[in-house]
Amino acid sequence: MSDIRLEIKDVSKAFGITKALSSVSFNINKGEIHALIGENGSGKSTLTNSLAGIYQKDWGSFILDGKEVNPVNQVEANNEGISIIVQELGTLDGLTVAENIFLGHEEKFVKFGIKNTASMNRKANELLKQYGFDRIKASDMIEHYNFEDRKLVEIVKATYFGPKIVVIDETTTALSREGREELYKHMKRIREEGNTVIFISHDLPEVLSLSDTITVLRDGLYIDTVKSSEIDEDGLKKLMVGRDVTGGYYRADYGEKVSDEVVMKVENVTVPGIISNISFELHKGEILGFGGLSESGMHEVGKACFGASFDREGKVTLADGTQVNDIPTAISHSIAYTSKDRDNESLVMNQSIRDNICLPSLDDLANKAHMLSDKKLKSFADEFAAKMSTKMQSVDQFVSNLSGGNKQKVVLARWIGKDSDILVLDSPTRGIDIKVKQDIYQLMDRMRKSGKSIIMISEELMELIGMCDRIIIMKDGQINGELMRNKDMDENTLIAKMV
């Protein structure tokens, strides 16, 4: 009996004139965790979305256990034995947890057209209990749960029926440490049952530790498939980027003195129910990190500094004495903010790259009569999109068509264009590939050297250690420790203060 579960043969897919996949062919085996890696825009999600029925491929075939499959939606894919957990939120408001789990598969609970809600809830509760998620109740409306719990519901939804292939698309970055552990446990269980996980992640140590086999895509082309045991991180980076990733990944300097000049003073900031009594100072040319568990309140600190928190108490004061209490004041005083929730809070998805980049700079770009020139906007957007090496057809392209990493580049291009002095970057490298990460780290380092100050909020401990002059650790909405940059700091030092 063949070990091959899925044969991918000559699969191609284009969006307009952009070729997302060009004749991709490789095999995936039974009973393995098969990682799919590549830079942003390399075609990983396009390939798995085509397999799962979200997109329709233009050419080629998927052969599952010897039979060609062509699902046109996720339910058809489920019926063929393929499921997917998507990068962003995949559950629907207005429905209960149980309705979300069985959406598209209600038939088993319907008799003579009438849905047996009690039976559906009972079955969903059994599954949630079986997965160890019994704090989530089947009859509750899904919107009562946070992002992470909703992701756990998606894990149940995607795996309860024992699919032959489960695609996990860049899901781990949305989860806290505990959430990731839960996901890893289920990935291993699927493998032990003889089924297959296709795992997309930019976290190379995570990929190496979890997967059995790794396939690399680059610019829509198949590059190579390697055994995880036979390659290291540098080898993977080389395959992904197409050359040796040389030069510093993180900052190399240690012991550099940070300026004494305070550019932002945060005093006794409280956001009821989220953060309590937070005080710190941000210095000129400093990268100040915030770390902690996902629900520690660190993400709210960023919003509070940008004047975006509701019911905030306490003071955020700039060097010139300005109090930052709202977003317009923050922007007019050269503060930039990028949210963790890129698609919903940072980008205007149905607008062009040009409009997204120019948005906060429109006043600067307008002439004396407050009129805007198309040419000027385009050249401004072109300049800063190019500075960030954004992969696109033109700045007139809709931002919604870009990959996750390129969307983040658009967000950063916007604030570089605005020439902001203080940048609050919440999870700036979430879902971003190794090359773009390196670009962002180098950009942050250049900004720091030119006197810009950065607050970096991240769940990636290594990037906090690698990039920050100082790291503040949050726990239960409060500051639980502060660590200065030093060579000997490791993840365990931070974790000890986080949990």
């Binding site: 029925g53 408001d93 429905l95 309705e99 319907v110 009438i114 849905k115 019994d134 009859s139």
Partner: protein
Amino acid sequence: MNTSTETAGKKISGQVKGYLLLILLVIISWGIFKIITPNNFGSAKNMLSYFEASLLAAVGAVGFYFVMVMGMFDFSIGANIMLSAIVGCVFAGRFGLGYFGLVVGAILTGALVGLLNGTFYVKLRIPSMIVTTGLALIYESIANFIAGGVEQTLPSNLRAFGQMPGNLILAVIAFAIAYLILNYTKIGTYTYAIGSNEFVAKNMGIKVNKYKILAFIISGAFLGIMAVLTISYGSSMVAVTGMASMSRNFVPTMGCFFGLAFKKYGMPIPAIIIGEFVINIIFFGFIALGAPTAIQDVITGLALLVIVTVTTKVAKGEIVK
């Protein structure tokens, strides 16, 4: 065991909160007019007649809820009611089909109008507001043509649905059907799924266009029932033109707002029924006061804004469009 009890407790407390809010609105609206005009407003008998009158729009509103919760709109409600009532009346009287002709004729006409609304909306791919506004003009003209420009009167022996208990029985059947569809069929689940995120719903294999058309058909059929109640209650119908039928849109739409506002408490249909009752108390209160129509409209409009603002507690930061 404990947890399930807790969950049930949570659910009950949410619904109880919703019912308490609605009952409070009834008491407040009744109380205000009772104080101002104690003699000719708000007796038990009066309240019953206000409730009877509110049943008409409540039936239309529960159907319209299926369309609105999906994020669509229908400006042809009034035209649909008018056309369905006239067809029902013609079937019952002119064709001699009696109650069967009245009920089936009106419901089928309403459903057909819904089918046309949904199909045009889906096929033309233009906003539902624009499609239904255009179609409303056509429905009005068809109604006028069928009526021959003459007021259509329902024979006096066919008006059982205009009074107790006929109106109540028909309305209760309609509410029960709406409740069943919404809570115990796939249609209800898919209605909410499409309203929440159409793209994800589509990826889940839901035939979004089919269910959008179905929502318009359901809405149309319920408006057909509302037409039966309306012509039975008022005994006749004039086929107006030039978008004059739009004045009939207001009351069912207001009831629907109640349903949307109380959706979070898991009780949209009771909210529509009680909401329409509150609206009627306010209307009849103004009539008892003898207030000029313009003043009535201003206060009713303000009351709508206040009620929806108070009952729809939007979370901070939540975007409202």
